[in-house]
Amino acid sequence: MKNKRYAIVLDTHRCLDCKACTVACKAENDVPLGTQNYRNWVGPEPLRGSYPNLGQSFHPSQCNQCANPPCNEVCPTSATGINADGIVTINHDRCIGCKYCMLACPYDARYYNAEEGVLDKCTFCIQRIAVGRIPACVETCPTKVRAFGDLNDPNSEVSILLSENDHRVLKPELGTKPFLFYLN
């Protein structure tokens, strides 16, 4: 059977900054309390215009599940890896907590889980995918900012969204080949 290539497509125009995705992710993945501990986030864009004509957009993000991830190259113990479906994983048993991957990641996707003494990040909720469910952040979003699916399947929602819409990835110049796509 052909492997899957999972991706998330985001339509940031729909984001309300409610942060339900961050809360759902923390609950699903036992992310420790603390302002620096999160697997996904919503970043506010700068204000547009001037008073009283103001506007603001928000930029939700998470691990880009790069096909060429810098975090994988730098890990001295091969704790970081890429599974058959393209998800970048961390083997917590092997992680020595050197934090080199945190510095190497151009997307600030990783945080240090002090409770376990290891690095952690988004895995598209790999434990949910294994039982046929979609990531918690995708499921919980009230405005459906995120769509999740298999890019190897031309009929999946993500494949159709990308074929029908102009889109971009973050920092393409770095050659990381991200699988987190943003609709323009």
Binding site: E73, V74, C75
Partner: protein, 382 residues
Amino acid sequence: MSILFEKYGNKVWFVLLGACIIAAAVASANVFLVGHEQTFNTSRGVPWGILISTYVFLAISCSGLCMISSLGHVFGFHEFDMISRRAILLAILCLFGAFASIGMELEHPFKMFYTVLSPNLQSAIWWMGTIYGIYLCVLIVEFYALMTNNHKISNITGVVGLLFAIAAPSMLGAVFGLVLARPFWHGSFLPVYTIITAVVSGTALIILVMYFQHYVRGLEMDDTDRRVIRLLGRILRMVLFLLIFSVFWNVVMGLYGKQPGSYEPVMAMISGSLSVNFWLGEIIIGLVVPMGLLIRKDRTPFTTMLASLLAIVGMFFMRYDMTISGQLYPMRQRTDLVGGLFSYTPSVTEILIVLGCMAFSAMVYTLVERYMSLDLKSEDHS
């Protein structure tokens, strides 16, 4: 003054080092009881703090000592044979101090065996750790050979040690230089710059040791000692000159074109949160004053020692600034950061551990100097 130092200096020195080691032990216990997150000021934005920069400082000093030591027993400049034992001993102890510093940074240092069980040969840290690990073994064999006057082995370990002494700091520079996401670090500059700075640290340290081992024991320097210190001063002057160029171009490259990720860290050093470190620590204490002392024709062993002491202090600031400034620029747009950059100030716990690592190296060195003869027979002063 020298008699006074002989009477009280030793006690003061040991009390000072002992206090630092005890304080560091208490701080370390606190780290393991309370947790790294609560005791260190590192963060998601600045995950590498002063313990990493101290590791860099000590590990590169180790390599520099080995390079200087090789002048005698590898390149055949026999005036320098007299510094070999001390340089290699100090190199070993610097490396132990460096390992202690990085070991305290890791929450699970004992998981390091995974570097052997599941190595990643693409990782610069893997290569750095492996090279420094083997290098430590080579240095220990070399020290044993030097102490037992086994020239056959010391010649072999001298050459092998020199190769490692060049490869190790270069690989350490590559740990930073290979981080594509951090423009301030990324590139071929750091792997070369670290070799230059290794010679600065190594030369300065061995000058300090030569000066103080005479001073503390109340010995007069003979003509050979004075000539060697003068030659070492010249070497230090030359590498400081190269370092001034390196620092100058590093700053200009960062400022030119205001490239995001390069410009902001340089500005943090020039006029931001690291400006005192940069101007006072790196430039004035580390470069200008030592250079001023070393270009004097009438320089004495004392002024050469003073220049070395200041250069060493400057190197410490240089390591710190290089490590921290590269992390200050956020990887994504942030509206919650003052001035758009992360900030970092080491915690008291981190500072105490740093002092402890250095005090440990200095304490063991002083004890070995006191109870073992590190002089060659030809220069035995006893």
